[in-house]
Structure formats: C-alpha cells, structure tokens
Symmetry: C2
Subunit: 101 residues, 2 copies
C-alpha cells in the first residue's frame, strides 16, 4: 500500500510535491486564509481576477474576523478547495448542510 502511494506521489511535478508537503505539514493545523493562499502559491492578484474583484478587496477579506459563509466559500473555491462546515460535539462531528450549494 505504502509503495503504491509513494509511486503516485512520485509521478507529480516537483512543484506540486513541494506544495503537498507544505500542506501536509500543516494538515489539520490551524492556518489563516492568507497563509493557505500562499501555500497554494497564489497571489492576491490572481485570486482577485478569479473572483472578479480588485486586489485590495482580497487583502481586506483576508484581515476580516467575520464574513458571510458564501463569501468564504467563494474565496476557498477560487483556490481550488471546498469549504466544509463542521459542528464538533463530544459525541462526534456533524457536517452542516444548510449552506451547500
């Protein structure tokens, strides 16, 4: 099993592997949005173009401590990710589906 996974990894480009490694080191660690963007090797300009806003809007968004879930989802999607909203209880975790779209 481990060998097969290693083969899969080896077939990726060095840049992709480096990004994967950086992400794995942070896996399940907390990270602010701007660090996540940098880990994906994306600039504020690139993200701004994807979201049809200007760079200043991205800069402002990354400093916010509260925002609409839809705004956050669009930002994460522009980086190639998917937003998941999880409620954690002593008994376990539940994914909240109200905001799926």
């Amino acid at each position: 099993m481990a060998k097969k996974f290693a083969d899969l990894v080896a077939r990726r480009s060095p840049e992709s592997q480096a990004r994967v490694e950086a992400l794995h080191q942070k896996l399940r660690a907390q990270m602010p949005l701007h660090e996540l963007r940098q880990a994906q090797a994306l600039s504020q300009d690139t993200l701004a173009r994807t979201l049809h806003v200007n760079q200043a809007a991205i800069s402002k968004m990354e400093r916010r401590t509260d925002m609409y879930i839809s705004t956050l989802r669009n930002y994460i999607r522009a980086m190639g990710g998917e937003l998941e909203i999880i409620a954690t209880f002593p008994e376990g975790q539940v994914k909240i589906e109200n905001f799926a779209n």
Copy 2:
C-alpha cells in the same frame, strides 16, 4: 482498548447513549441545523433563550442558506458544540483560523 471505551459508554445515561448513537449514525453525514438541534433533544424555545432571541428568530435562522460565521458559531455553541471551518483540497484538509474567537 475497545473494552475500556465500551465501559466508558456504559457509564453514560440511557438518554445520553441514545443521543450518541443517533449522532454516530449520522457521523460525517450531512445534516441541516434543525435536525442537529433535534438530535441534541433541544427545542427552538430552549435555544432561543440561550441566545437571548425569540423562537421566531431561531426558526428563521434554521431556514437561511447563508449567514455570518459568527451567527452560526453562536448557534452551534448554544447546542454545546464547536464550529470548525475546514478547507478541503485534493492534498488534504486545513482548518481556517481567521474566525476563531
């Protein structure tokens, strides 16, 4: 290990065990907010009192498809849970920390 966990579970009340089981069946399944509240055996009235709003406000909130992250966090905390914001990428998952408070 398995035996010790079973002992821990057995020490809980039957009501608590039933709730745990219901939650486990839904574990990592998607669930809307009102179902999660019902799984915790909480009424809209109870939650409204905890959040210092009226029952109609809870009803309205549970039908929304978008809201501020802080609003959702307060709702989940009122049920005894914690909100987690996760960005999922092909390479792995990252917890977003901008909104921790």
